[in-house]
């Protein structure tokens, strides 16, 4: 007796528990690898699955094995002799490279020093968030799949009893009964009444014949009513529903950054993490997110991501040129009726004197009414952070932006000096999306 069993529909991912244990075990190595790979990747790619290469340090599984290379003697047999005769000598390959004996030694494992595997989006985000010290609530919301709603999608022939469409079902049933000429109850009753009437009349031959014929008709009608069901399974119709994603609108994210000499590698890396997180937030709320990169020194340019983060430019610092550029691009390509506009500006806080006032005017007058949210982060080093411990003290740009923040609730300013400082900037934005969604 044989059984064929189709297991293909069984739940997959039986190894998930083992995988989690493995990730936990190799945590340190994986973290290092993920951070490195995030640093090298584009902002919009953060939430994608990716390959990670880690070393096997920490996940070694030692076993006793023999080491015939150090001392002792042994024999071994190989296939494929071509020219050797007994007594011939074969030089040993230099240690470390393959060769016959080298392979034998690596048979017992431990051969590879590192290996590569793919991590899913969730696993990557877990590690990304860990570094940013995001609260749990935020983590789960960010990883959430886009919301979907059930929509009516016509009528089907199968479904659950609670979804029966009675109107359609009865209409089908009625049509079928008509087509098959199922006798109505009233017709049968009429025949019965006729029969009864006949039975009360005097019994002539003619009447008897009629009675027999009537009885036959009644029997036939009743059996036909039995054969042809009132509601047949083929009549039944169900309402059908399909899941549809909630239509979401689109958003554009302007990344503004000061790239003058004072912004170093560390500052840019912090800014990049900030932009990544903002992108994740937007990605969750909007179906389509465009990213525009504007860098500025004493004058502003729109550039691609590569250039934005990695190329250098010398010059002074005039922040308002970037705001100008942003307005220009917005007017050209991103109409406020179609796009939600977000802006994120990163700077070390220096600008040409007098320019700060100009910036404030532009923000209050033109930009803030357009923007859903404008975040300004000032990247300081730890020492400066101590000097500017109070929110009120700061350089010119900072003090000027504080006045904007007082006017507009959707304008945020924050100083950061390490990755963990980044998240608080989003707290406000997040609150808003909570109440909105």
């Amino acid at each position: 007796m044989t059984h064929f069993i189709d297991r293909r529909l069984n739940p997959k991912g039986k190894s998930l528990a083992n995988r989690q244990r493995f990730l936990r075990r190799a945590r340190a190595q994986i973290r290092e690898a993920v951070q490195k790979s995030l640093k090298d990747s584009a902002i919009a790619d953060i939430a994608k699955e990716r390959k990670v290469r880690i070393s096997t340090k920490g996940t070694k599984e030692p076993r006793f094995r023999l080491d015939p290379k150090t001392s002792g003697e042994h024999d071994f047999v190989l296939p494929g002799n071509k020219t050797f005769s007994p007594g011939d000598e074969i030089k040993k390959p230099p240690s470390g490279t393959g060769g016959a004996s080298g392979k034998q030694a690596s048979d017992s494992g431990e051969g590879e020093d590192d290996f590569e595997f793919t991590m899913t989006q969730d696993e990557i985000l877990d590690i990304f968030f860990e570094d940013l010290e995001l609260p749990n609530l935020v983590r789960t919301t960010l990883k959430e799949t886009p919301t979907r709603v059930w929509k009516r999608a016509g009528i089907t022939t199968s479904g659950s009893p609670t979804q029966i469409n009675i109107l359609r079902t009865m209409r089908n049933s009625f049509g079928r009964r008509l087509a098959l000429k199922r006798p109505k109850l009233s017709e049968v009753e009429a025949l019965h009444a006729e029969l009864e009437a006949l039975e009360h009349e005097p019994q002539t031959d003619e009447a008897r014949e009629k009675i027999v014929a009537l009885k036959e008709r009644i029997a036939k009608a009743e059996s036909k009513r039995k054969w042809i069901a009132f509601v047949d399974p083929i009549d039944v119709r169900f309402n059908s529903f399909t899941e549809q994603p909630v239509p979401t609108s689109q958003a554009v994210m302007f990344c503004l950054m000061d790239v003058s000499g004072s912004m170093g590698e560390r500052e840019k890396d912090l800014a990049k993490r900030f932009y990544m997180l903002l992108h994740l937030f937007l990605k969750r709320r909007y179906k389509k997110v465009d990213v525009v990169f504007i860098r500025h020194t004493h004058d502003a340019q729109e550039v691609d991501e590569q250039e934005f983060f990695y190329s250098r430019q010398s010059g002074g610092t005039i922040v308002s040129t970037a705001l100008d550029k942003m307005l220009e691009i917005q007017r050209e390509r991103y109409n406020t009726s179609d796009w939600n506009i977000y802006a994120a500006q990163a700077s070390d806080g220096y600008t040409q004197s007098g320019d700060a006032r100009h910036c404030v005017e532009m923000l209050n007058g033109g930009i803030m009414p357009l923007c859903q949210y404008y975040a300004y982060i000032e990247i300081l080093d730890e020492r400066e952070m101590e000097v500017f411990a109070s929110e009120d003290s700061g350089a010119e740009l900072w003090r000027a932006y504080r006045t904007v923040a007082d006017l507009w609730p959707n304008f945020a300013t924050k100083r950061i000096s390490k990755p963990a400082d980044i998240f608080p900037v989003f707290r406000e934005l997040f609150k808003k999306s909570e109440s909105a969604g």
Binding site: K69, G80, S85
Partner: protein, 495 residues
């Protein structure tokens, strides 16, 4: 001539069933194989990867090392570096074979003949499997092990359990009985054992304990010792380190001993497979080859099918030569199949040389009973020593090298010629002796009253020592299980 069972590459369950019946008919009536009942399961590639990473068992306890295998196999598979196995077969009753859904119908037929009849017959008849493994009980036992270890994780924390498993896994190769046989429990005792375990599990489960503050140990009922052979006396020397630690370690708790027992049982279950790679694969390959050809002769499969079959069969039994980039040791499929086909040839059409080497069966004509006898009563080492013919040695062009660690060169000690046949054969056989390939480590002393030091000894074979770095790491694992100092000495053998 009948019509072929199938002509398309696509398969469906009706065709599988029809083909299975035809294969079964040949296997049982023509070859007279003796098999466990079969259970054939179709799985997807993802599930195949899952199965890979749990030592090819359908269920297994959780441990990070299995996740590591999975991550690596998945990367290899997705990257296109390795193809998946066409099948996996489990030594259990019923014998479970997994077929990969992507196989063509011809491949499914090949795989059914290979796994469901070839391996199955070998599992049921080979003396090692009969003595050491319990095909009826293995799945139940694994299910018990999985539950038990999950319960331990709940109660004692994942890290604690993981630490014990890490250490136990490091000793898996030294966790088997090689020479001494453990008392074979009778049927009643097996049942009793299972009952006691179930009772313990039931008793041990108490929702309340989970709410206890940390640090308070629930009263752990002693795990009933089903072997009942714990008498406080150590029988030294002891080769089974896991067994010794389980019984005599002064620092392990009851649940930790039970985990060692689980790992030890698993190691013992796989031990016969380790000793019969050539025979097991050779038997399955020979059986599928014979069955597929009979099916073709009887018109049950089409010409296209037999060609597809031959294509995949020849790549399975391909043996690269030693200087080939693809060389990764001797291919057990190739050697096993070549030897078994040769036995058939010797029975049917022997040469003078064969009559001299194999007088017992040369020309007997009854190749099936010779093969069945070999399958039932030999392991790789003894099978090669007994049945490897000069012709196969010539075909493989085997030659033997002598290697001494300090020498700058290997010396060719024997080749496939008149004077070398016997030596090459003996050396090849020894190469398959796991007793020599695995280091021989014994417990020689344990001072239970004094400083509780444990003394181990590696009995070197021909002066080959242990690999130093890994030795240190494994000794640390033993110290964790023993709880006190452990020393491991190298001792030269007396030969």
């Amino acid at each position: 001539m009948t019509a072929p069972l199938f002509t398309e590459a696509e398969w469906d369950f009706a065709t599988l069933d029809r083909t299975y019946k035809a294969i079964e008919n040949i296997a049982l009536n023509d070859l007279k194989l003796d098999v466990y009942p079969n259970q054939v399961e179709v799985i997807s590639s993802e599930q195949m990867l899952d199965a890979y990473s749990s030592l090819a068992m359908p269920l297994l306890y959780n441990h990070w090392s299995f996740g590591k295998i999975f991550a690596r196999e998945e990367a290899m598979y997705r990257g296109g570096y390795s193809a998946l196995a066409y099948e996996i077969v489990i030594n259990s009753s019923p014998c479970i074979s997994y077929l990969l859904e992507e196989n063509t119908m011809t491949m499914q037929a090949l795989v059914m003949a290979h796994a469901a009849f070839g391996h199955n017959h070998f599992f049921k008849n080979n003396y090692l499997f009969r003595q050491w493994t319990n095909a009826e009980g293995i799945l139940d036992y694994l299910s018990f092990a999985k539950k038990y270890i999950a319960a331990c994780e709940d109660r004692h924390g994942r890290d604690e359990v993981e630490a014990i498993l890490d250490s136990a896994h490091a000793l898996m190769d030294q966790g088997v009985f090689r020479y001494r046989r453990p008392p074979k429990p009778s049927r009643e005792r097996v049942a009793e054992k299972r009952r006691l375990r179930a009772a313990y599990e039931e008793e041990a489960y108490n929702e309340l304990w989970r709410t206890l503050p940390a640090g308070i140990e629930p009263p752990s009922a002693p795990i009933p010792d089903p072997d009942g052979d714990f008498d406080g006396d150590m029988k030294l020397p002891e080769e089974n380190l896991l067994y010794f630690l389980e019984k005599h370690s002064p620092s392990l708790k009851a649940w930790q001993r039970e985990i060692l027992r689980i790992v030890r049982n698993l190691a013992q279950y796989f031990y016969p497979q380790k000793q019969t790679k050539v025979m097991n694969e050779g038997c399955a390959t020979f059986v599928h080859h014979t069955i597929m050809h009979l099916m073709y002769e009887r018109g049950l499969i089409s010409e296209g099918s037999i060609f597809e079959f031959l294509h995949s069969h020849t790549s399975v039994v391909f043996q690269p030569e030693f200087d080939d980039k693809r060389y990764y040791g001797i291919n057990p499929y190739a050697l096993g199949f070549a030897m078994m086909s040769d036995i058939r040839r010797i029975c049917e059409a022997p040469t003078a040389e064969d009559r001299e080497w194999f007088p017992q069966f040369a020309g007997s004509g009854d190749w099936m009973s010779t093969l069945k006898d070999a399958w039932a009563n030999y392991r790789d080492e003894s099978f090669i020593e007994q049945f490897l013919s000069p012709k196969v040695m010539r075909d493989f062009r085997f030659f033997a090298l002598f290697d001494k660690a300090d020498d700058a060169a290997y010396r060719v000690s024997a080749i496939h010629n008149e004077t070398g046949y016997r030596r090459v054969r003996a050396m090849l056989a020894r190469q398959y002796d796991v007793g020599i390939a695995d280091p021989n480590i014994q417990v020689v002393g344990a001072d239970l009253k004094g400083n509780r030091a444990l003394q181990l000894e590696h009995r070197m074979h021909r002066g080959v020592p242990l690999h130093h770095a890994t030795k240190e790491l494994v000794v640390q694992h033993i110290e964790r299980l023993w709880g006190h100092e452990v020393t491991l000495e190298e001792r030269a053998d007396d030969q």
